[in-house]
Amino acid sequence: MRVEKAVLVFKKDWIETRRNWQVILPIIVVPLMISVFLPVVLGLIPSFAVSQGSGLNGFETLIRNLPSHVQEQLSGMTETQVMIYVMAIYFFAPFFLIIPLMASSVIASDSFAGEKERKTIEALLATPISDGELFFGKMLVSFIPSMIVTLVSFAIYTAVFDIIAYGLFNGMLLLPTLDWILMIVGLAPTVALASIGLTVMISAKVKGFREAQQISVVLLIPILALVFGQATGAIVFGPLVIVALIGLFGLVDFAVFRTGVKLFKREEILTKLA
């Protein structure tokens, strides 16, 4: 596979995408709002909960399942500090797996289905760019912007949270932790690639962009399961769990790419022109 051809497809698609504000705005605004909104909620809700006397209700299972060294750390904290710490470091972590999925889903759904709708696909398919190069190029144009958005969102989340928590934790900077770094630079990209690969595959098979987007929403379900698993304490994202998930999703990425290229049929795409 010639990577430069995939990069060529990426560059072309990216120029098109960044000139379309209907696509760009939701990709940028929603994740940025989340990255500011979540730490602000952290600053308000725990104190509200404590003042209402609810304390750590609802977090006991999550706290109980945390690694022993973390529990030792928590033992010296007040209830408010524990609540902020647990929510910031563990409860909200899986949300940052949803951000790259949200950011990439619009572009990935548009990858082939959009070209079919705009009737530009035939000239693209007629070029001497191989199936693998085309497929990879279409994945890159969703992957790179979504990862940039994720990293920027994480940086903002970290900064806002550390500013809010600075006074509450006697000048300690809690983020980033090893878990978060592993999750943002390892797990988020591998999860995003699997989801993007599947969405691009769907986009090549269906007639239009809307159809592709509607079907690709299903791909959020496993990630939402991780979010709820963490929230209820069923799964705790410790370093080992994250590394295991990175390995698992790495294999899924490989399988998705191979299957996507194998199922990529120029003829099928052309006969499904809108």
């Binding site: 705009r118 530009t120 035939e122 000239a123 693209l124 398919l125 070029t127 001497p128 003829e267 052309l270």
Partner: protein, 315 residues
């Protein structure tokens, strides 16, 4: 001479519908070969198979000696294609569209790429608008840009699918003129799909009429016209008709028969080639002292020939 395009029993079925049915033909290098046929005849499907966009259900073809089943990337690199729709990226400028396709077709050296793109955009009168988004272009400009895109990597073979379809008469003429210049200047082998008979008559060396995916007849436009009307006939009205003029015309190379109507002061000549024969006849009549009032070619046009052939096929 080995044909540059050779289709051998090319067949394409979509379910129970046979779009192309055992089509065999050969196109020589430098030839402009027309595929004529009504809508749904199988013209676009044939071009898509030859450019490796869809696979034949049966049969095969070679394009520039590459087998379409075994060497799809090489075939795609060898041909330039103008698809039914211009297939241009409307949010990109003309220059950005050309840059993308130049690199996709492996024209990678920046200087060569820039000079080829400039040459084409100037040739198609689009250079001044190169930085404008394609969305702002007229239909005719988009079509010209799509042809420029097909030519960017200097392909020896061009597949043009309905290049004048949907254009107003002025733009259609402009595109036709450009195609004529291209075939003369750059000596491309062109496979032209059209149902515009004036395009085929003016541009094609040979045409193949297809209907329901099957080949009905192949020949030069002249041969197809002759097929319907027999040999072409020319009637010439004169102010002065005498035996010297009649004898002179009878001796001419392209003249097969001369009928004289003295009362109408006219000659009716059966020619073996109307394009070559008519000027020769007129010149010799004038040299023999004749005063030519009018010249009529009495024969069906390619359009009439085409319609009759397709009508008979339908029966």
């Amino acid at each position: 001479m080995t044909p540059i395009i050779k289709a051998d029993g090319l067949t394409k079925a979509f379910g129970s519908h046979i779009a192309v049915d055992h089509l065999s033909f050969a196109v020589e290098e430098g030839e402009v070969f027309g595929l004529l046929g009504p809508n749904g005849a199988g013209k676009t499907t044939t071009i898509r198979m030859l450019s490796c966009l869809i696979a034949p259900s049966e049969g095969g073809a070679t394009v520039a000696s590459y087998n379409i089943a075994e060497n799809p990337l090489e075939v795609r690199q060898t041909v330039g294609i103008l698809t039914e729709n211009p297939s241009l990226y409307e949010r990109l400028s003309a220059q950005e569209n050309m840059d993308f396709f130049a690199e996709a077709y492996n024209l990678l050296e920046p200087e060569k790429k820039a000079s080829r793109i400039r040459e084409l955009l100037e040739f198609f009168d689009l250079w001044e608008r190169r930085n404008d988004k394609v969305a702002t272009f007229s239909k005719g400009m988009k079509q010209k840009l799509a042809i420029a895109r097909a030519l960017v990597h200097k392909p020896p073979i061009l597949f043009l699918d309905e290049p004048t379809a949907g254009l107003d008469p002025e733009s259609a003429k402009e595109v036709r003129d450009l195609m004529e210049m291209l075939s003369r200047r750059e000596k491309h082998t062109i496979l032209l799909c059209t149902h515009r008979l004036e395009d085929a008559e003016r541009l094609c060396n040979r045409v193949m009429i297809i209907n329901k995916g099957r080949s009905i007849v192949v020949g030069t436009p002249n041969e197809l016209q002759n097929l319907i009307a027999g040999k072409p006939t020319v009637r010439i009205n004169l102010q002065n008709l005498d035996s010297k003029i009649v004898e002179t015309t009878k001796r001419l190379h392209h003249v097969a028969r001369v009928d004289v109507d003295e009362s109408a002061s006219s000659l009716t000549l059966v020619l073996d080639d109307v394009r070559l024969g008519t000027p020769e006849v007129v010149k010799s009549i004038v040299n023999a002292g004749g005063l030519v009032l009018a010249v009529y070619v009495v024969r069906p046009s390619l359009e009439e020939a085409y319609l009759q052939i397709v009508r008979e096929e339908r029966k």
